[in-house]
Subunit: 599 residues, 2 copies
């Protein structure tokens, strides 16, 4: 995390800024003021939202550490946006001017409310880290406008892309504006009642098929579905609505049990960027959009807060290490939009200086025609601090483990911990109390579901800790040290037998990190030429896997009585490295598998 | 076949006619004449082509058997089209009028040349079965116009959807117009040199990534790819171009060995309706568009004629029985657009009176917003007679087996055979010579690749016949009878181990027909609850499969060390029917699998 946050601060945020300035997505706001729209409009209909996501990333990053250049840049962009907002609060560079489609004339695809949602999320980030400023005022005017236009007696519809729902609630909660929450409730209750037009992908694409209260599982466009669920959980908490919360929890639990990749990735279909049927999780062409991983984190983190079940924190961690961390390249200048679990032929390196027209670029690309993911990664990474710890007033719960200082408010006062760890490289995490209220601090540590055999050491005495929450038996005072040790041996995982694409295959995990076999195009044997020939072995250089090479023989027709027996398997066994899945694709064209065939 | 042809004559052709009249696709031609375009334009940009495909179906059907009502209807539609053709031969209801985009301004997506292609194919059908008429003259003017506009010195580009290439060659061959062939050559040589714009799906979508001469395998949009290959084979034959022929053969052989479903279906991706990578053939959501099956038949039949290899006739048969025959419902009033090999949840019955917005309707639908498949099935079924026999001047080759009269020209004179069979229900096919030249007739019979153990009986004496061509040893005269017996026991097939989605699964075939397990929503056990528990057994009511039921237990997270062992398998074995895949989905919502898990 720390590395990813540094990379974000040093490179990723500036990279997004560079591309959106270069492509004129930020310039759209200037063009609006100068009367050059629609002629000079650049980017897709939702490009404003990427500018807002960049501002959100900047706001969180500025909250993490001061940076006067970044502060200046942030303010300059906000000033350019401010000039575009109309007197009634409307703000969008795509609609409403002469030559443009009228405001709210295309709720299915226009993304106007979606853009406001990201504007409000940016404002939330700013208000939380620096207080109310120009951006917060812009967002407030937009929120007021939305309540005016889409409130009772107004347009009785919703946006084709959920996002304003959680944003209105978070923004309203922060500002104490109950009517924003009320507006979100209207949106959440309308969706699913077929208020949007039917489309080729079906109404489930934008979750307008069944209400969020009645749905059994996430379906349709995975980003839309997870964002919507995040809003539903927020509303359930605001309204103390147990029925809605349990509907949301039921949907996420079934989605995790039946529609999620081992990486935490969501979405099996390229077409419609959507969830597949239950257990339809083929590795090849897994869509697993980076943004859907982020949506999953948003929803799972809220379920963690709402239910207290550490299982949801496990899922946040899984998606962070295996989806969000997979997207950016090691240099922070290119991104995966989709995250396949199997590449059978080496991919193509994207040009460093060109926009990729395709979301499904073979390797990471610097920017996309639809470029939601880079800015989403930037804002998520900058805000990671928010996922680390929580408090129920009494105890401090550590949900995620990252080196650094953690502070949390309890009823007794502030608790500050110094966390020392190289997790997930190693499994030892030590906590030293540097500040505690006079009555001491209660500490509760998450033991991940995979971490059977974990131990907690307090006062030099170790005791075993089962997966779930491990509560430290005594109250801690300044200077106390607790050490959590998670078992980091490489694990072999199998899949539910209903997943056809994973029969007779195994995957490997180490701590929260999913591993993979990657073979550079220049190396002997592609991944599909290898078969698992034993248990993985941990070495000082990382885990290795014993494999055998196979030679496939092409039949003129690949189906028949004798075909299954065709490959020749070599007798000799050799070892190949198992690398973190999130690090694949950084060394040039390669083949890669997360799930490896056995025998 | 005979049943399908009767259904086509009685229902399918009229069904297509009804829907295109109702939706105004035929009416677009009237609207053009009456100056009501673009306001009254209905359907997608390529809807003209479906009217031409309907005419082609009518023309073949009229050639098969006279029908004065159908003849009248055919002529009426042709008359309505004739009025729209402009003085220079241009003919399209979507482009070129005030308020419409200019002619040829969108070659990537406009489909103007594609529509001409289907116009010419309809004209070929008419000219072959009835001689030159108004439709043939319209097509001739269009072809002249295309040569004018896209010839040397004209627009140096191609159509985003291949089709005019084989059409120009077949039409030119028929009329003796070499310049149509020359124009097709220009199109075939241009494509692959990046003459079209790059698009989100990549230039391979319309095969503009690599020339047809250099390509190694079919890729991109499967219908486009197969139609283009058909044109390339036609050109190779016209030009006596062995290099081009071998390029085409190489591509088809690799496509059959690595990118084709056991049904003969082509295309793994819903997105882009395209081929996947080698061995990327998941059963769930197999796209296998009906039209791609037809394109495969077009290309394989041409390869059969060009190379004489009966392997390609096997592929024609496979796609006919398992893709084309699967599309229409038993009543001929609804169609599959895509042909999945696995349905894990019962599908939704499409409304009988509504256009389905989605190609991937769960069950067959009466009509689609993009409705290429119903008219394509109709024209293919009406023309099936053309696939049955061929002659090399000396011998008559029987490539497909269907009851009826077969006539073929040889250098000695006409050969007529009476074919008596209920193939593929049974494996006995008997041929009686009813007319033969004075020197007798040479007969060669195709023994399909799956038919090891076949026998041929001549003069009451049986001898074994290996897969491939079985040449009857002596010349036959009138009254001679030959009986081919193909083994029809149900076969168990496995898949190449590189196909991840098919590991540890088997499929069942009987003769050329792929079988499946179908479970109605009302029956106990869905297909995913069954495991193969023995060999299939042939009974008088058809083949049955011994299975065991399994009970799956949902884990909160479906991956882990112990997960793979989760389902409980019941001890008792029972039998379920194996039905022809092409008959599934005719009895209401159901689950279905072609590939069944073992153990």
């Amino acid at each position: 995390w720390a590395d990813l946050q540094s990379l974000n601060a040093s490179t990723m945020i500036a990279h997004c800024d560079y591309w959106m300035e270069r492509l004129g997505w930020i310039g759209n706001f200037d063009a609006a003021v100068e009367g050059r729209l629609p002629d000079d409009r650049r980017g897709r209909e939702f490009s404003d939202s990427d500018v807002y996501k960049l501002l959100e990333a900047m706001a969180w990053e500025l909250g993490r550490q001061a940076n006067s250049d970044l502060e200046q840049r942030y303010s300059a962009i906000v000033a350019r946006i401010a000039r575009v907002q109309e007197a009634d609060g409307y703000l969008n560079t795509m609609f409403g001017r002469p030559g443009q489609a009228p405001r709210y004339s295309d709720l299915e695809w226009g993304h106007e409310l979606y853009c406001y949602g990201h504007l409000m999320q940016a404002a939330v980030a700013r208000a939380r880290t620096a207080g109310e400023d120009e951006l917060v005022r812009i967002a407030r005017r937009a929120a007021d406008h939305v309540c005016e236009v889409f409130g009772e007696g107004g347009i009785e519809s919703v946006c084709g892309h959920a996002e304003i729902e959680p944003a209105l609630i978070e923004f309203g909660r922060l500002l104490g504006e109950q009517r924003y929450v009320d507006q979100a409730r209207l949106f959440l209750e309308r969706r699913g009642t077929q208020v949007l037009e039917d489309i080729e992908f079906g109404r489930q694409y934008f979750q307008d098929d069944v209400t969020v209260r009645d749905a059994e599982v996430l379906r349709g466009h995975a980003v839309r579905a997870t964002y919507l669920l995040a809003g539903a959980i927020d509303l359930a908490i605001e309204d103390d609505d147990d029925e809605l919360l349990s509907a949301a929890e039921r949907q996420m639990r079934r989605t995790l049990a039946r529609r999620t990749y081992i990486t935490g990735g969501m979405g099996s279909h390229h077409e419609g960027e959507s969830f597949g049927a239950d257990f339809e999780l083929p590795s090849e062409r897994a869509y697993s959009e980076t943004c859907a991983g982020i949506g999953s984190i948003m929803a799972n983190h809220r379920l963690l807060l709402a239910t207290g079940d550490s299982f949801f924190a496990d899922q946040v961690e899984r998606a962070l290490f295996n989806v969000v961390a997979t997207s950016p390249s090691e240099d922070g200048r290119s991104f995966f939009y989709t995250n396949t679990l199997h590449r059978s032929a080496p991919g193509v390196v994207a040009a460093a200086d060109e926009v990729s027209p395709r979301a499904a670029a073979s390797l990471r690309a610097p920017w996309f025609a639809v470029s939601c993911c880079p800015t989403n990664v930037a804002r998520t990474v900058a805000s990671l601090g928010a996922y680390v710890a929580m408090s129920d007033g009494q105890a401090v719960y550590l949900a995620q483990y990252v080196a650094g200082e953690v502070s949390a408010e309890t009823e007794g006062g502030e608790v500050i911990l110094d966390v020392d760890t190289s997790y997930p490289s190693e499994g030892v995490i030590s906590f030293t109390v540097t500040s505690a209220p006079s009555g001491g601090a209660e500490l509760v540590l998450r033991v991940p579901g995979w971490a059977g055999g974990a131990t907690v050491q307090v006062d030099g005495e170790a005791s075993s800790a089962d997966p779930g929450w491990a509560r430290i038996a005594r109250r801690l005072t300044v200077g106390d040290r607790v050490v959590l040790t998670l078992p980091m041996a490489t694990r072999v995982s199998r899949a539910d037998q209903r997943i056809d694409g994973l029969r007779n295959q195994v995957a490997f995990e180490r701590g929260p990190v999913v591993l993979c076999v990657e073979r550079l195009a220049s190396e002997e044997f592609a991944v599909d030429d290898l078969r698992v020939a034993g248990e993985p072995r941990d070495t000082v250089d990382g885990p290795v896997l014993p494999v055998r090479a196979v030679t496939h023989h092409d039949a003129e027709w690949p189906f028949g009585a004798a075909v299954g027996a065709s490959p020749s398997v070599e007798a000799s066994v050799f070892e190949v490295p198992l690398i973190p899945y999130h690090r694949w694709g950084n060394r040039g064209p390669s083949t890669m598998r997360v799930w490896m065939p056995v025998g």
